[in-house]
């Protein structure tokens, strides 16, 4: 019993936080169990609100967890297991959206802001920076008097 417990601890340390998985659900092979946890964390529980099947207590989530483990035991690769579930429930079940023509905007979001923004900033600074290197225009006599005023009265907060 202790060896099983220790084995589970090791497997779970590799896989990440346990959530809704019951002890009786877990596979004996720690490598397979770790893969099962990994896959489960990327699959959405479709009857819950924003949880993975790894995290959810829902019965359907438990069923899907069991199916993931069955497919892994039958020799499927991780991608094949995911494809099995997507074939039945659609792309909605993937917590990581697929990368295709539809989602290209989504995946390139950071670059879409950084690149044009960065270029714009660089151009702006280049133009402004050149100007700032120029000598500041000297103060007019009126401005000099205003300056003396301010310094005398200590108006600056």
């Amino acid at each position: 019993m202790r060896r099983l417990v220790l084995g589970l601890v090791c497997a779970l340390l590799m896989a990440g936080p346990a959530a809704a998985v019951l002890p009786e659900e877990q596979l004996a092979d720690p490598v397979l169990e770790a893969r099962a946890r990994e896959i489960s964390q990327e699959l959405r529980c479709v009857v819950c609100q924003n949880q993975s099947i790894d995290d959810s207590d829902a019965p359907l989530a438990a069923d899907l967890r069991a199916i993931v483990r069955e497919r892994l035991t039958a020799g499927d690769t991780n991608e094949e297991v995911m494809a099995y579930i997507v074939a039945r429930y659609g792309n909605f079940v993937l917590l990581k959206p697929p990368l295709d023509l539809q989602t290209i905007l989504l995946w390139s979001a950071p670059l879409l802001v950084l690149i044009p923004g960065g270029l714009g900033l660089a151009l702006y600074l280049r133009r402004r920076g050149r100007a700032s290197a120029a000598e500041p225009t000297p103060l007019t006599a009126e401005e000099q008097r205003t300056l003396a005023d301010i310094l005398k009265t200590g108006d600056a907060p």
């Binding site: 609100q49 207590d57 959206p97």
Partner: protein, 659 residues
Amino acid sequence: MSAEIGQLALILAFMLGLVQGVAPLVGAHRGDSVLMSLGRASALLQMAFVVLAFGALATAYVTMDFSVELVAKHSHSTQPLPYRFAATWGSHEGSMLLWVLILALHGGALAFFGRSLRETLQARVLAVQGLLSAAFIGFSLFTSNPFSRLSPIPLDGTELNPLLQDPGLVMHPPLLYLGYVGFSVAFAFAVAALIEGRVDAAWARWVRPWVLSAWISLTIGIALGSWWAYYELGWGGWWFWDPVENASLMPWLMGTALLHSAMVLEKRGALISWTILLSVLTFSLSMIGTFLVRSGVLTSVHAFAVDPERGAYILVFILIATGAALALYAWRAPAMRTGALFSPLSREAGITLNNLFLLAATATVFLGTFYPVFIDVLNGDKISVGPPYYNMTFVPLFIPLLVLVAFGPILNWKRDTVQAALVRLRWPIIITVAAAGIGALAFGLAKLGAALGIALGVWLVAASFMLLVRRWGLGRKGAETGRLIRTTPLAVWGVAIAHAGLGVSTIGITAITAWTASEVVTMVPGQTIEFAGRRITLDALGAATGPNYQAEQGRFRIEGQGRPFLMVSEKRFYPSSQSQTTEAGIHGEAMGNLYISVGESATPGAATVRLWWHPLVGWIWGGAMIMALGGALSLSDRRLRLAMPARKTAPAKTGEATA
């Protein structure tokens, strides 16, 4: 009786909001002081009526007046008093009234404290505030009236959702709303500036403290929400990228950018149109957040109401408010750009670059949150965006951002050089590289990411400390360190502490992501297991009762490191609402939290026990509170809040303000 008073007060407040929205606008246009002072008067009066209305609702809740429909739906005779009060905002209608209250309070404060502002500016700001107020009160009155009566009067109510019966509930929404609604002040100022066609030093000086206080509240509110989810939801997660969580993160990110942009505007007169745009966007994100929670356009654990009709009203309002503001921006902002110059390597440039990263991060969260809606509208496909997406996009964005944060305060205004900056930062650089090296050696290549994450946090803390060290002249000959420490402005303390807090949170997030340990096992009373270097024994499994619930309780004894201690976890059942919650047992220690959660087991007489070890998780929220503290210190620096004295001579020019 109190409900009728509240209803009447709300109606009067609505009408006053309309007056406040129109009169000062006309007055400012015509230079009519009477109309402009009408704006101030109606703002103060409106505030009074909204306070009355809110008080009426709260009274109905506390006195358990079940004839009021809201009270009947969210309160119960056995519900403890604090939760009876907090339930005032524990529903869609009630929380809307809380929003309206905070909006009215801000309007009143603007009317009262803003007398040193230029009259036309204050008038226009109040007008925008008034229109916002009227719109939200109107939303409340016409679609989500909190005061509707129930007939016949039920004997008892349906209690407040047990998940919400928690100290966290008392604090979380008010703080969040202080943040969301606080940004409306910046929005109002931005629109007023666009109408006027100019921005001056007084404007910048005014906007900054309001943005800062909103930011502080939002920071604490988000941290509180995360902490609450951690201990309430029963499995130890602290952030889920849930749409409603994202709805609070986006204004925070944009608000942080706004804060720094306003600082540049005030100090150097630069980034005028940027600051205005950020002001409009931040509050718009607040409003979109409120739209999200109430419209049902996305599914979420948090959704207050799933009501497309109400959602439509809010959306129309956002369309008008943000649309008008952005249209004004497109029209007026190009003429408002400044001549303030700065070189590519300067504090202004550093802040602008950081803002770019914050903008990218906000866009990422925005797209991740709303993409499912966009795709659904386009072709009916259903996709979902979850944590894996954000881990691959948001996290890589934040890493360079955090590196840059340390540079900002250390760079000179206007012009600086790479060599000088690096020289100033040589000690933090050395410390960070050493930390990374030690981490890589200690944790191994498999956890290289964790070592770098910790090093990043160390970088922020070291660079922040360096700020103070330079200020105090440590290591400089002839420096009067004692005096320098005593005269360090609060704002400098604020920056250093806030940025250091960011580093602390970074370390916490890295630790919990890399080193969480967990275990799930079936246990019977008397059984001991080993976990995280301790021996954990299930002492007893039995029943327990609370004021409005019954529970199955597991009592655990933990030994092996220091003195033995007890932990309790229970699964509660609330008979009045027929709902269940899991209360985890959490033991906070210096290096992390031990977290235990019990559940049912197929085996009779046993329980399914889940255990977690969460290293340094407290540092996440601790770091956020440190950030808030830094903000508060900055806010309390009087130099930031002294209004410009009204000048009889030439109007204040941009860039005149020093300090």
